[in-house]
Subunit: 221 residues, 2 copies
């Protein structure tokens, strides 16, 4: 791919992305992750990989509804209007379509697998935690809820909290990588991730225990 | 203070607080911190401390404008309507007024110092990082910006990012505690805090370096 074509697709991406947790810096981190993974693989088609990386989140409208489907359609429409190799358009769209969690296992090409892994690397470790917290702020949801004097760790907790999201999503992403390179990068992030989350849970539960001592201070009447 | 009076003030607090980063769970963490600090001090007036802890953020309207001033006024007005010791109302209002960063050094009483420390303990370490990220999400600001191929660490960075907030606020809170107890609790949080923030900065800069290799892949024309 030429620099000119890359810059064209990059500018289109910039005009599309908005959400803080999926902003242009997310796209650049995913792009960087793609490069790290791809350099350890053979026969990677960089036209497909780089375009799919740039375009994977253009379908997000902030409502989280089928953004991969919308994104694939937008990518198809857009790539047809520029000087992009026609025979590669469908592979780009497939990779955009299958980068989402819900499409796990449907990746048809090496490029689609690399993109999936690269995107999920940004959803574990420090970035997984940071972006989940930002997402909580975006939707004005609470960090956690307390039930029966303890932090609610249930992944089916009724409230959409950071803790629920972490248990349901972030913690599970570690077991779903396709490439060895991505798995290795992810495993290195696991310690600080577990430490941070574990300390947060302990801090909250410790605080709940302390709050129960308030009864010794208050009088009955 | 009686349980009944405490519950009354607690319910009033619940009806006032909204923002995710300063929601009721923040109030309960600050209350817990107050108890931890107070048990190591002598002659603490718990009527003043507990009320001020519950009421310290009721003045937040989501616009961050003089919430301590608004909060002190609301507390005065509210406490006059309930069966709260009249002679202690002004001390509660003073503590509410001086809990903000801008009022550092104006704390007149032990209770005001404890509340300040307890509130700042929730602004360092894991909670400092988590709440800053949530705040970024609340206002739809970016986590960081990249300038000249590196993460912008300038505390005067033009964009209101998580990184700017961290450098400007979170990192500095460690040197502003009044009590030994709060300082000790904060110091224990420093390692994981520094590790998390440092790793985030490294991850981003490492990614920026990787992105520069894209020129080896793209052709000039």
């Amino acid at each position: 791919m030429t620099k000119e074509l890359f810059n064209k697709i990059e500018n289109y991406m910039k005009s599309c992305v908005k959400e803080t947790a999926h902003d242009r810096e997310h796209i650049y981190r995913v792009l960087g992750n793609c490069l790290k993974i791809a350099e350890k693989e053979s026969n990677v088609d960089y036209d497909i990989l780089l375009s799919a990386a740039l375009l994977h989140d253009i379908g997000r409208d902030g409502k989280k509804k089928k953004h991969n489907e919308t994104g694939a359609e937008m990518a198809r429409e857009y790539l047809r209007t520029i000087d992009f190799p026609v025979e590669k358009i469908e592979s780009v769209c497939d990779a955009v379509f299958t980068h989402s969690n819900e499409s796990y296992g449907q990746q048809k090409t090496l490029e689609a697998k690399i993109l999936y892994d690269a995107d999920k690397l940004d959803a574990v470790g420090i970035m997984g935690i940071s972006r989940s917290l930002i997402g909580i702020g975006n939707y004005n949801n609470p960090m956690y809820v307390v039930n029966d004097g303890k932090i609610d760790m249930d992944e089916n907790c009724e409230t959409d909290t950071f803790v629920r999201y972490y248990v349901r999503r972030v913690a599970k992403n570690y077991d779903r990588f396709f490439t060895k390179t991505a798995q290795e990068i992810a495993d290195k992030q696991k310690t600080i991730d577990n430490e941070f989350f574990g300390s947060l849970v302990n801090l909250v539960n410790d605080n709940c225990a302390k709050l129960r001592t308030i009864d010794d201070i208050l009088s009955d009447n």
